[in-house]
């Protein structure tokens, strides 16, 4: 399929560059002095929100592919998921290094005592096995069933991300609630699919295979 290959050759680098834009903008703003008076907070917030956005993006791929029938979309899911992990790592490093400056005792106390930190930390930790098992080879070695089961952790990560956001705002819950709404739609679609597919089993089999591609 030369057409598909061509699309991938053009689109993949494009999506990759797009994924770097938020980080690039942040670096540029920092150099140009465009960040606020509290740049560490800006970096924390920007990397955090982009983690959540990429998580939601990666969860959008499958529904979008099913609805549009554009199978090629599946080829971007891993990259977008890895970008979520990339921004999540930046977010975590910003907290440990820039914000707390490696005050391990303070960090541990935060993780233990502050529910929003606990949830955020757990959400990040759950992304680690997903990132580690993202390659085709490992997926094949694990077997599709196990791999898919493991990668359902992304639902918990997403939920954790939204709760982390919701629990850290002081008064205005509008934005976290919005992200929560998007997540609810994405998870709701899957539940709807799941219950529907139980009635039409034969249709779901090729789908499962497509998931592995």
């Amino acid at each position: 399929m030369p057409k598909t290959q061509w699309e991938i050759r053009v689109l993949k680098p494009l999506v990759f560059l797009l994924g770097l834009v938020p980080a690039g903008l942040l670096v540029w703003k920092a150099i140009a002095g465009e960040l606020s008076a509290n740049p560490i907070k800006d970096i924390t917030e920007e990397t955090g929100i982009w983690t959540l956005r990429f998580i939601l993006c990666t969860l959008t791929i499958t529904p979008l592919r099913r609805i549009s029938g554009w199978a090629l979309l599946a080829r971007f899911r891993r990259m977008i998921g890895l970008f979520a992990f990339f921004y999540g790592s930046l977010h975590c490093v910003t907290y440990i290094y820039l914000d707390q400056f490696f005050a391990i005792d303070e960090i541990l106390r935060d993780v233990a005592k502050r529910p929003f930190v606990t949830v955020g930390f757990a959400a990040f930790v759950m992304m680690i096995p997903l990132a580690l098992t993202s390659s085709n080879r490992i997926a094949k070695w694990m077997g599709g069933k196990k791999w898919r089961l493991l990668h359902r952790l992304v639902y918990l990560t997403a939920l954790g991300g939204v709760i982390h956001y919701l629990w850290l705002v002081k008064a205005d819950t509008q934005r976290p609630v919005m992200y929560g709404g998007v997540l609810a739609v994405l998870l709701g679609y899957r539940m709807w699919e799941y219950f529907r597919s139980r009635h039409v089993t034969e249709k779901t089999i090729p789908r499962v295979k497509a998931n592995l591609a």
Binding site: S36, A37, N38, I40, K41, L98, Q100, F101, E106, R109, D110, R114, P115, F116, W167, L168, K170, A171, D172, Q174
Partner: protein, 314 residues
């Protein structure tokens, strides 16, 4: 009621006192530094690469800490009436009109009335004070305020013996304050102090900072500054001051009573339920510093809280 009609020209309509004082300050700075840049007043940081204000000897209430930049003080604000992001107040406060301005003073006072701002400010000696400012979110600044002690006004107003607390209210103008169009907080914003706190010499009614009139995003034209309490106690754009018998409601306490108490004294030993108050990031610095009890004003204010359980009355 005592509403003076503006048939006379108010001094502020000719040359605001602050601008007038500013000119003198400018001459002083310019001649001292030998730099004839008019912009040095507007952008004091041009002078030495950092803001310098005020010049001269420090008063008994000034702290020695290095001042934060004018730009930081005027662009990094919590003023939810203009939006919830730190940059919102400076970006959205442009259409707010702090002039003309009246303040209603009522409740347990001998002379309840609505006063023009000039009549509130003019009888007092306006002075510059360098205060620490600690936000409940864990950041802090050092700000050269211009204002006069609230105690001055209270003396003139003559509260009755029944007055035990003072309640304050921010203006409600959703047309000029876009943040008020959504009910993020209960509008109008209200705050309160015990009468002895209100009378404390550190408690300032501010009309300016860095020797200039207050900008809208900093609570123009009249705001409270209570340096030993978390920033949200220092209510902005005040239109009402009411003397009352009972502890008045306060906005953040109404929203989340377990997170924001009536007193809200800076206290490193009482954490906000969701984050630690042990340390703070001074804006402009990289490493966090330890937060001091009463924001470092313990010597002056701790007497007011003698015998009180500050964990209970947080």
């Amino acid at each position: 009621m005592l509403i003076k009609q503006a048939d006379e020209v108010h001094p502020s309509e000719i040359t605001p006192e602050n601008v007038y004082l500013n000119r003198r300050a400018f001459i002083r700075i310019a001649s001292a530094a030998g730099i004839g840049l008019a912009s040095s007043v507007v952008f004091p940081e041009l002078l030495h690469g950092q803001d310098r204000w005020p010049q001269g000897k420090k008063g008994p209430y000034d702290v020695d800490d290095e001042l934060n930049k004018f730009k930081d003080i005027t662009t990094y604000n919590n003023f939810y009436e203009f939006g919830v992001d730190k940059s919102d107040p400076s970006e959205n406060a442009g259409s707010f009109r702090p002039k003309p301005w009246t303040v209603r003073i009522e409740g347990e006072v001998k002379k309840p009335a609505t006063y023009n701002l000039e009549d509130i400010v003019k009888p007092s000696q306006v002075e510059d004070r360098i205060y620490r400012h600690r936000c409940v979110e864990g950041w802090s600044m050092v700000i050269p305020w211009r204002g006069f002690p609230l105690a001055d006004l209270i003396k003139r107003i003559e509260p009755t013996s029944r007055a035990k607390y003072v309640a304050f209210e921010t203006v409600y103008r959703p047309e000029e304050m876009p943040g008020q169009k959504r009910r993020v907080l209960e509008w109008p914003y209200v705050e309160g102090l015990r009468l002895d706190e209100a009378r404390h010499p550190l408690t300032l009614l501010a009309v300016g900072l860095y020797g200039k009139e207050l900008l809208n995003q900093n609570g123009a034209p009249l705001r409270l500054v209570i340096p030993w309490k978390y920033g949200f106690k220092s209510i902005k754009s005040i239109v009402k001051i009411k003397f009352v018998e009972k502890e008045p409601p306060t906005t953040w306490n109404l929203l989340t009573p377990n997170e924001y108490g009536f007193y809200s004294n800076v206290n490193p030993d009482v954490d906000h339920p969701r984050w630690s108050q042990k340390t703070e990031r001074r804006i402009g610095e990289f490493l966090k510093r330890k937060t001091s009890m009463f924001n470092g004003y313990g010597e002056q204010v701790s007497g007011m809280y003698a015998g009180m359980d500050l964990k209970k009355y947080f």
